[in-house]
Every structure is written in structure tokens, then in C-alpha cells.
Symmetry: C2
Subunit: 343 residues, 2 copies
Amino acid sequence: MNDLKSKSTIYDVAKLAGFSPATVSLALGGSPKIKESTKEKIRDAAGKLKYQPNFLARGLVKQETKTICLIIPDNLNPVFAEITQGVEHFAYGRGYSIILCITNEDAQREKFYLEIMRNNRADGLLVFPTFFQVVQEEALKLKASGIPFVIVGRRIEGMDSDYVAIDLESGGYKAADFLIKLGHKKIGIIYGVANPDLGKSRLEGFKRAFLENGIHFRTDFVKGCGYRIHDGYKVAKELLSDKDRPTALFAINDLLAIGALKAVRELGLKVPADISIVGFDDIEFASYSDPPLTTVSLKEKEMGKAAVEMLIDRIENTSAGGRHGAILIEPELIVRDSCAKII
Amino acid sequence: MNDLKSKSTIYDVAKLAGFSPATVSLALGGSPKIKESTKEKIRDAAGKLKYQPNFLARGLVKQETKTICLIIPDNLNPVFAEITQGVEHFAYGRGYSIILCITNEDAQREKFYLEIMRNNRADGLLVFPTFFQVVQEEALKLKASGIPFVIVGRRIEGMDSDYVAIDLESGGYKAADFLIKLGHKKIGIIYGVANPDLGKSRLEGFKRAFLENGIHFRTDFVKGCGYRIHDGYKVAKELLSDKDRPTALFAINDLLAIGALKAVRELGLKVPADISIVGFDDIEFASYSDPPLTTVSLKEKEMGKAAVEMLIDRIENTSAGGRHGAILIEPELIVRDSCAKII
DNA sequence: CTGATTGTTTATATCGTTTTGACAAAGCCT
DNA sequence: AGGCTTTGTCAAAACGATATAAACAATCAG
């Protein structure tokens, strides 16, 4: 009866309802110029044919896709998984879909995504940068093309654009200050350095706390590695198996800290009695590890929401020239049970 | 000099290079009919204008988007986060982008996404179903519209479509059989039941093991809840604070198991000496918990890859009528340190 | 010098919408 | 009745690419 064999177009609906395509478009769009009775007939026909307006055709004429592109380094890290979840959620709330690009911490891929997304596939971009230089370069092209974008998560020094970020330097400072106040002087740092841009701010804040407290900062206690649990495990073992070992560890993210926790257990040491540990990010697991982890909250949810709102406002208020939007969120130290006073 | 003020079209490139738009299209497409020297000029012009072909216009005429839509329940659960990561990775490898839809375990939203995605936004769909009935209904419309889709992760009884799934029943059986062989008879089950379709297969497999071993299955030890860590924590406390308490716990996913681990610790009991725990999914954290968790591996990576390949093959071999593709992966019991023999 | 052949380029139709301005029909007012 | 709104519908022109068939030039054979 109905030709359900293939996609139906506005012409099919028009023919079935006995009106022109223009009328169908108006009617389904809810225009007040169309008589209620014909709207009814058209809705009926559209229903029968299970009509869905072609996204591409509509996008082409309306010059919008109701889509935003989210670029992140890694969806396995709960931090980004949560950002993704939040972004999707709030975008959905405002009628946008999201297209997800995972760079896998590869500069080529980050560049590729930023490049290709100038092709009208999305109305705007949310970028969690990995390689600052790549992002900075591509951002210029995006600006030239007039595509709105918001930098999320990190502030790129000397770059003039919208951003929603966390004050990572301050977070590093808080972590170090906390440990120092507990009496720790020998603090090992598990430092993800696959990419030099990333841990830098946290480390700088960390150093500042040492400086302000008049304590010597031992660079031999800083050990670089990747960003996954296993890396933290490995590096913690190295740091702790030395006879002159640290009394506390600061991991640049919670995954590394969780790896470190396991390393400490395996070495027969106790957290926090023997070794104090501070993480960074406050992922959900941080409060379920044994012991629950003292860490610095990244407030991903807040960040995701703010970024989406900022981007969509930019997209929809085409007027919005003027200054760029800037939100710098202050991280918070979450004290749990993984640190102890030194005696 | 260059008008970098806004997006440039194929017409701009044509004018700058001194050829027609048709020639530009052919040239950039690498057609052998175009002289090398003019290709050169056209590439130059395109480069100067930073030209990117309009995705919407191209999609409209080519009837393809090189995009696939992935629908999952929840990106905070590492299982889905990993699926997402894998899908994105392999899709990228074959030149596809992914648009991510998170239903948040809401039937309305699942329906909405399945509905809207018939609008030519994507060339195909990957669906990790939450509400089987919703999916089954919408699948009919998708089929009618001729849009390829693959059901991922779970097999829907009596539904004729492509799928890549795990044999969850068998997984449940393996978990139970393992505990029974260790001598456990009183096994508490932490059962996520926000949606009745989800844990069912695992539970059935579990029951079968009891039946085959001739042990009475105590339904009062089955406790429903949500799917997050916190739920596992709460339910485990309930189950264990009774005087007639189980000697082992089976959690329907690893998040719940990790919550249970914390509950056991807080009750002053030891895993596995006092209580054995088996999880399900084998998320990365399962091997970093204390103690490392015995669990059933879901092989998400394998699953994600197989699903993408199957879908893209469907999309590209338009011919591929015939029978549907079906892959049922056998889950594997991963034995770590969270279970002990009963004495 | 004509006609066929080959090699390049271009005009034109198309994809499926939305959006104007035009137009016919109907209603109201002198 | 004739003019003037008002109301409801539609024809036609975008949007920016690709694909096809036709046009044009240059080369070659007879």
C-alpha cells in the first residue's frame, strides 16, 4: 500500500497530500499562513510515508547543521569520557548533535580533524587541545572561515579565542602546598610527558609552592611517562625502589595515581602510612580506590556545560563579535584518605 | 590579498584559477581527464583560498556522508567508553566520522535518535540497545528506509538483523560455575535492573549453572539497583549486613563490583578471605582494584572493530542483500584475586 | 581539405530542501 | 460592481557541490 521500499522525499509527501512541496515545507514547519485543515492532511501524509526531511538538503539551504564537533585526545580517560558525556547532554538539550573526534594524542590526527571540520559539517567546534601549536595554527583558519570554536580544558598562552579552562597551575600549587604543609619534602612526581604542553602548568604550580615555602625542588624526583594507569604503576615502582625514596607522590592525573597505588601495595608499603599520594582530576574511581584518593577536582561537568553554552551562544548570536568569552575555573583540592602527616 | 574573510566555494577557486567549477571538481578529484598543468594551477588556487568542499552539497549529490552514527547508553561506563573509542578508531581508518548519541538509558531519547537518524545524516547506524522494544520498532523503519545498521553488544531475541554481540548467558554461566566449583552456595547477586532487558541473560546463565550443579537458587539474594559504582556499594552493604549473609557476590558489571569492594572493606571484611567477588565486563580498573577483580571479559575492542567492519561493508557493498551478518563472541572468565575456595 | 579521432574543458541537470514574491480566490467596504 | 485587503497556495530561485553529455581544439589519416 505505502511504498516503504525506500526513503521518501518532500515530493512524495506533496503528491500524496495533494499539495506542492513548498506548502508541505511550510506546513511541517508550522507556518501560520497554512490552513489548519491542510496542515492536518500534510501531517497525515508525512506520517504515512514516515517522512524525515533530508538533513543535507536542509543544511545546505539553511546554512546550518545543528551539529557541533568535539575533539578530544582520548575517550578511555574518564576525564574526557565525562566531558564527552556532558557535552552531548547539554548539546542535546539545545537541539544539537555532536560528532566525536578522538585524536589519540596524535598531532597528525588533531590537525586532520581541525582541517576537515571547516567543511560545513558542523556549526562549531569544541576543542580539547593536545598539541598547542597545531591548534593555534588551525584556529587561524577557523577564524578566517568564520566558524565559531571554543577551546576547552586548557588555556593556550597568547592565543586570543574563546575558552573554558581550569587553572591547572593553581591546581598544581594546591596539591603541593597540601603535601608540604603535611611535612613532606621529598615528593616524587609522576609526570605524563608524551606531549610537553600538557603537564607543564601543573608542574609549574607545583614548583611555585616549593619556592614559596622555601623548599628545594628535586628534579630527580620528576619522572616522565604516558598517561595510562600502567604508566603510573611502572614509574611509581621506579621512584620508590630507590633507597633515597620520596615520602609522597604527586601524579599528574588520577589514572597514574591509581597505578601508583597498586605499585605501593606490591612493594609491601602502606598508603598513607608510608607513602602519601595526591592525584589530579577527581575521576569517579578516585573515591572508590583503596584508600580513597586525595586529588584535585577538574570539574569536568561544569566545564563541559560552560563550553557548550558558550559555543552555542556564539553560533546563534551571529552578532556576538566583540571580546572573546573566557572562563577560568578554579580547581578544588578534594581531601580523602591517601595522605598523612609526616612524623 | 586573499579574501580570507569567509568560507570559499568551488566558484571562488574556479574564478581564481581561471577555469570552470566543473573542471575544479574534476581536478581536485584527481580525474585523469584533466591536464596536469591545470591541476597544478587549480590546486594552487584551492590552497590559497584554503578551500574545503562543502560537506552538505557533496553529500547531497553523492548520497553519502561518510558518517556513521553510534548510539550508546552511557559514556561514563568504561565499557561503552571503550566501545566508542574503538568504533571511532576503526571508522577513522576507513574514512568515516562518527556522530555520538548517548541515550542515558532513557527510552524517549533512544527512540528520538533512532528516528532522527533516518534523515540522511549518517550512512549507517551502530546501536547498542537499551530498550529492546524501542529498537525493534525503529529497526523496521530503518530497514524500510534502506539504512544499514548493526546491533552491537546484545542479541535481541527474535530480531532479524545484523549483529555483533557477546554471549551474555554463557558469561553468567561461567561466573556462577566458577564460584560453585570453589564451594560457594550462598551467592548474592547485584543486579542492575533499571531496565529489565539488560541483566536478564547474565542472570539466566547464572541460574542455569545452579540448576546443572543441583544447587538451590535463592532469589532473596538477588538485589536490583542501578548500574553505577554507588549502586553496587549500597546493595552490597544490604546483602552483607544480614546475619545469614552470602559468602560470595556476583555483580552484573564491574562498576557495581568495585562499589561492592568498598562496601566489604567498610564492613571490616576481607576479599577474598571472607567474601569472594566476581564482576562482569573486565574494564581496565578491574585489574587495578584491591584485590584485582575476577571478572568476565566482554572483549569490547574486538566487538567494536567487528561491528564497524560489518557496518561499513554493508554500506559500501550495496549489493549485500542476502542473510544478515551475525557474530556472537564467547566471553572469557578472567581469574584474578577476588575469589577464594570456601573451607 | 574534409572527416575522424583524441584530448580537454565546460554547460547543464541534479540532489532535496527552504524561501521569496506572485497570484488567485474570497471577503469587506464604499 | 469595482476596488482593496486578506488568506492560502505555489512557482521558481537559491544553497554548493558532482556527473554526464556536449562542445571545442588540436592532431591525424586519407
